[in-house]
């Protein structure tokens, strides 16, 4: 007990000792901070409106940056520089754009010039809407028609582009394939004992099987769902973790991705469900006949709400995590002083650790609930047995 308290004290002392190193690490930043502080003091005196509006503009820019970070993108943008000098340079690489609008259109996203230009392909014009980062049909000038609620009324082509999210999905898919294939192969080579990087994941595979699949689905039926459960678990987990890297690609915080995952769960549940499952939906046993008629539509709705809740839960958790984390990072610039930025840094650090936990937790919850739904689709007549008792 004494030792652990000492360790904690030492840790806290170290954090405070190291803190100035981080906050004063960049001499320029310190200068800027001091200058900004001086400015702020000045503002209090005569408050020139021009500078204040610049500050507000910077804040709006940050908000927009966060907003754009959360969205999918047609090019893989790494970072930008030189905004202050007016010649902003974007570093990244273009991705292929594949559209279906009265025929196939294929070109590289560099034709959009980071959303500033109209791309022309086979006589059709396309432009990226600044608000949602999606490709719309437009004319040669790239006009967007908006209604009174500021909704864009332009139609959208079917966008099958290899977007940033798709690149990440492909990357994670490749990673999983290589890693787990090697793990699978290593058993044969090494007499039933895993080797290599995949070895780290063997206990997690066993955990998914023993703690998620078997208790929820049951010893008898769990085997046919294992592939889906394992894939969905590692897919979400890895993508969540990649979302926390400085690349920060927010794949699992995209509603289309989570919806696709949940709908696959829904389809598997529906097509593998037994008679008992449908019996519970349309003709609930153990309740009066009138209640059964009332319950049927509710139960039927419940089957659709389940995947919907899966969709929203994962999406909302990941988006919320990204927004909060990036807002706190943005606060470092907004505070622009040692105490405030330092505080934001610690907060961002702690939150990052929390997000690592959330990344695993959300993957676990998604898999767990998926297994639960599969289990309900395979449940045997235990209500009737209870009635007999």
């Amino acid at each position: 007990m004494l030792i652990s308290r000492k360790t904690i004290q030492l840790f806290i002392a170290t954090v405070f000792a190291v803190l100035p190193v981080f906050t004063f690490a960049n001499a320029d930043t310190t200068h800027v901070a001091k200058a900004a502080h001086a400015e702020v003091v000045n503002h209090e005196g005569d408050a020139p409106k021009e500078v204040v509006s610049e500050e507000v503009k910077a804040q709006e820019e940050r908000a927009e940056f966060i907003q754009h970070h959360l969205l999918d993108s047609h090019d893989f943008h790494l970072f930008s520089y030189g905004k202050e000098s007016g010649h902003e340079k974007h570093v990244g690489f273009p991705l292929p754009v594949i559209l279906w609008e009265d025929g196939l259109h294929f070109f590289m996203s560099s034709e959009f010039h980071h959303g500033e230009a109209v791309a022309e392909s086979n006589g059709k014009y396309f432009a990226i809407n600044h608000h949602d980062g999606m490709v719309y049909n437009t004319d040669a000038k790239g006009t967007f028609n908006v209604d009174e609620k500021h909704h864009t009324t332009n139609t959208k082509p079917l966008d099958l582009s290899i977007t940033k999210n798709i690149v990440m999905i492909l990357f994670v898919a490749l990673l999983m394939f290589v890693m787990f294939r090697n793990l699978g192969k290593s058993y044969g080579k090494n007499g039933g004992i895993a080797t290599g990087a995949g070895r780290f994941f063997e206990p997690i595979i066993l955990y998914v099987r023993d703690e998620i699949a078997i208790p929820n689905i049951g010893e008898k039926h769990y085997k046919k769902y294992m592939s889906h459960l394992l894939t969905v678990f590692f897919f979400i987990w890895f993508l969540n973790m990649f979302g926390l890297t400085p690349l920060g690609v927010n794949v699992t915080g995209n509603i289309a991705i989570t919806a696709a995952l949940a709908i696959i769960t829904y389809l598997i549940t529906t097509f593998t469900a037994n008679k008992n499952y449908w019996g519970h939906i349309f003709w609930m046993p153990g309740v009066p006949p009138l209640m059964r008629i009332v319950l049927a539509p509710i139960e039927l709705l419940g089957t659709i709400i389940k995947p919907f809740s899966l969709t929203i839960r994962l999406y909302a958790n990941m988006v919320a995590g990204h927004i909060v984390l990036m807002s706190i990072i943005a606060m470092m610039y907004t505070f622009n002083n040692v105490a405030g930025s330092g505080f934001s840094f610690i907060l961002a650090f702690v939150l990052s650790i929390l997000e690592i936990l959330v990344a695993g937790l959300q993957a676990y919850i998604f898999t767990m609930l998926t297994a639960l739904y599969f289990g309900s689709a395979n449940e045997e007549h235990h209500h009737d047995e209870e009635a007999h008792h």
Partner: protein, 166 residues
């Protein structure tokens, strides 16, 4: 909700479903099946090994108790054998004793009988010799005495007295 639907990209949705289903099928064939099979096999192996170890232990115990039983049986057998041997020995000694006694008695009897008959023979021989001797004496005496009357009577009287003594 409106924003949610606005962010929903149908193309991304379709691609995700295709990619994800493809990933499931690929991983199923190349990763999950071999991994789970290997793990299952290993677990079965461990279970079997534990079970056989348990069985071996039980067998050992059974063997031990068998050995004990065998040992006990052997001991009992030895005890009975010793007992029998002792009985036989005692019986043999007793038999030998009684045999010896009877044999001895018989021999003594025979010896006695022989002695008796020898004695009788000896007595008879002595009698014969005595009678023949006495006859010779008598003959000699008679020859001598008969020449003298007095001495003849004296001799007869003396001889008669001798016979009585005998």
């Amino acid at each position: 909700m409106e924003q949610l639907l606005g962010q929903f990209s149908l193309g991304l949705f379709i691609l995700q479903i295709v990619l994800f289903v493809g990933l499931i099928l690929l991983l199923k064939k190349f990763a999950w099946k071999p991994i789970l099979d290997a793990v299952n096999e290993r677990e079965e192996g461990i279970k079997d090994a534990l079970l056989s170890a348990e069985n071996a232990k039980k067998e050992m115990m059974a063997l031990k108790s068998d050995n004990q039983k065998l040992l006990d049986e052997a001991r009992a057998e030895r005890d009975t054998m010793i007992k029998e041997a002792t009985a036989i020995k005692e019986k043999m000694i007793a038999d030998a004793k009684s045999e010896a006694q009877t044999q001895g008695a018989k021999m003594i009897e025979q010896a006695k009988a022989t002695i008796e008959s020898e004695k009788n023979n000896a007595v008879a021989e002595i009698k014969n010799q005595v009678s023949s001797l006495s006859l010779e004496i008598a003959e000699k005496l008679l020859k001598e005495e008969l020449s003298n009357k007095d001495s003849q009577t004296k001799l007869v009287e003396k001889m008669l007295a001798d016979v009585k003594l005998n």
